[in-house]
C-alpha cells in the first residue's frame, strides 16, 4: 500500500479519480463534443477571412483582385471547404441546443421545442437569402 495515500476529509484513504487524455475517444457523443469545440477555430478563421476581404476591398480594385486570386488557390479553397463543413456542424448543434435554453411562452402556453428550432432554421434561411440577394442580385 502506498505511503503517499490520498485521503478524504474524514482521513479515509481514497483512490483519486483519473481521467485519460483520450477520454474524448471513449464515446461518440464525447467525440462529437470535441469536434464542436474544435469548430470554434474555423469560426474564427471565417472571421479573419471576412476581415481580409474587407481590407482588400477598401484598398482598391488591384488589392481585391489579388485577394480573389489568393482565395482561388487550392490550399485556401480546401481550408474554406473544411471550415464550411465545421461551421454547418457548429450551427446545427447550436440550433439543437436552442429549444432547451429558450422556453418561449405565448400567453400561458409553452411553444413546442420543434417550433423554436424551426424558427431558428427559418431565420438562417432568411439571412442567407438576404446575403444571396445582396451579393448575387438574385
Amino acid at each position: 500500500m502506498s505511503q503517499s495515500q490520498v485521503r478524504s476529509e474524514y482521513q479515509q484513504p481514497v483512490l483519486p479519480p483519473r481521467i485519460s487524455t483520450w477520454w474524448w475517444l471513449g464515446k461518440p457523443s464525447y467525440f462529437a463534443f470535441i469536434l464542436r469545440e474544435l469548430s470554434c477555430v474555423f469560426v474564427a478563421w471565417f472571421v479573419v477571412y471576412l476581415l481580409l476581404l474587407v481590407r482588400a476591398v477598401t484598398q482598391g480594385d488591384a488589392s481585391y483582385q489579388e485577394f480573389l486570386a489568393w482565395s482561388a488557390t487550392s490550399r485556401i479553397v480546401l481550408v474554406n471547404i473544411v471550415s464550411l463543413l465545421f461551421l454547418i456542424f457548429h450551427t446545427v448543434t447550436f440550433f439543437d441546443a436552442a429549444p432547451r435554453a429558450m422556453v418561449v411562452k405565448v400567453g400561458s402556453n409553452t411553444v413546442p421545442g420543434s417550433m423554436v428550432l424551426a424558427g431558428h432554421y427559418a431565420g438562417w434561411v432568411a439571412v442567407s437569402a438576404v446575403v444571396c440577394w445582396l451579393l448575387l442580385g438574385v
Binding site: S8, E9, V14
Partner: protein
C-alpha cells in the same frame, strides 16, 4: 438465455492495495434480476467483504449508482439480462474518489449542492395564520421536471467537464438550483445567481449533454444549465444598460 452471468466487480481495499483490481463472480441471471440483485447475491452468498451502497431498490434513493460496462447506471434499474451473455463489468462511479470497492466519496457533491440553497428561500415568511403558499398546476409544471432529481450523481460521472475540472459545480446542483428558481414560492434566485454565475458555476458547462443522456429520472440537467445561462446573460445585459435596476 443463459441462467448465469459473470460479474467483474472492481475491488479497492486501501489497507491491502494501492490500485483497484477486479474480482469475478458468477451469479444467477433470471430475467427479473437487476445488477444490484447480482451484487447482493455476491455479498450474501459468495463474498461478504464486497462494499457498495444501496437502499430503496426502486430508483428513488439514488444510492446505487455505479458504472455498468462503462456507463453510469442505477444498478437497481439495470437488468442483468440486458448484458447477457456477459460479462458485466461493475465499477464505482467515475470522477469521484473511491473509498472502498464500489463506494465513492460524495463529499464534494454534497458541499456544492448546499451552496445553491436547494430549498425554498423566502425574504420574509408569512405568518402561519395566512395559510399555505398556494400554487397553480401551471406553476408546478414550471419546475416539476427538475424536482425529479434524486441526487444519484450519475450526471457527474458522465460529465467530462467535472472530471477535468473538479471545481465545476456540476449538473445536478445547477438543475436543483433551477428547480427552486422556477418555483413560484421561492425568492432566492438572486442569492443562487451569485454562486452559479461564478467561473466554476454554470459557465463551466460546455454542453457535452451526457448528463441528460444518463439521467434516470429525465431531469435534463443540460437543458437546465443552458436555460440558466440565457437567464444569466439577460440579467448581465440588463445590469449593464440599467445599472440602477430601472
Amino acid at each position: 438465455m443463459a441462467d448465469r452471468i459473470k460479474l467483474q466487480v472492481a475491488r479497492y481495499r486501501p489497507e491491502q492495495e494501492s490500485e483497484a483490481t477486479f474480482d469475478e463472480y458468477e451469479v444467477p441471471c433470471p430475467k427479473e434480476w437487476v445488477v444490484l440483485d447480482g451484487l447482493n447475491h455476491v455479498k450474501d452468498r459468495m463474498d461478504g467483504t464486497l462494499a457498495y451502497r444501496w437502499s430503496c431498490r426502486m430508483g428513488v434513493c439514488g444510492s446505487c449508482g455505479m458504472m455498468v460496462n462503462g456507463e453510469p447506471k442505477l444498478t437497481c434499474a439495470t437488468f442483468l439480462t440486458d448484458y447477457a451473455p456477459g460479462p458485466v463489468r461493475v465499477e464505482p462511479l467515475r470522477n469521484f474518489p473511491v473509498i472502498r470497492d464500489l463506494i465513492v466519496d460524495i463529499g464534494d457533491f454534497m458541499r456544492k449542492l448546499a451552496t445553491v440553497k436547494p430549498w425554498i428561500v423566502r425574504e420574509q415568511e408569512k405568518p402561519l395564520s395566512e395559510g399555505e403558499y398556494l400554487q397553480t398546476p401551471q406553476e408546478l409544471d414550471e419546475y416539476k421536471q427538475y424536482s425529479m432529481c434524486i441526487n444519484c450523481m450519475l450526471c457527474y460521472s458522465a460529465c467530462p467537464v467535472y472530471g477535468l475540472d473538479p471545481h465545476f459545480i456540476g449538473p445536478a446542483a445547477i438543475a436543483l438550483a433551477q428547480r427552486y428558481n422556477l418555483d413560484s414560492r421561492d425568492e432566492g434566485a438572486s442569492q443562487r445567481m451569485e454562486v452559479l454565475s461564478a467561473h466554476e458555476g454554470l459557465w463551466g458547462c460546455t454542453f457535452v449533454g451526457e448528463c441528460t443522456e444518463v439521467c434516470p429520472k429525465h431531469v435534463d440537467p443540460a437543458g437546465a444549465i443552458q436555460r440558466y445561462k440565457l437567464t444569466a446573460a439577460v440579467e448581465t445585459v440588463k445590469a449593464f444598460f440599467m445599472p440602477r435596476g430601472a
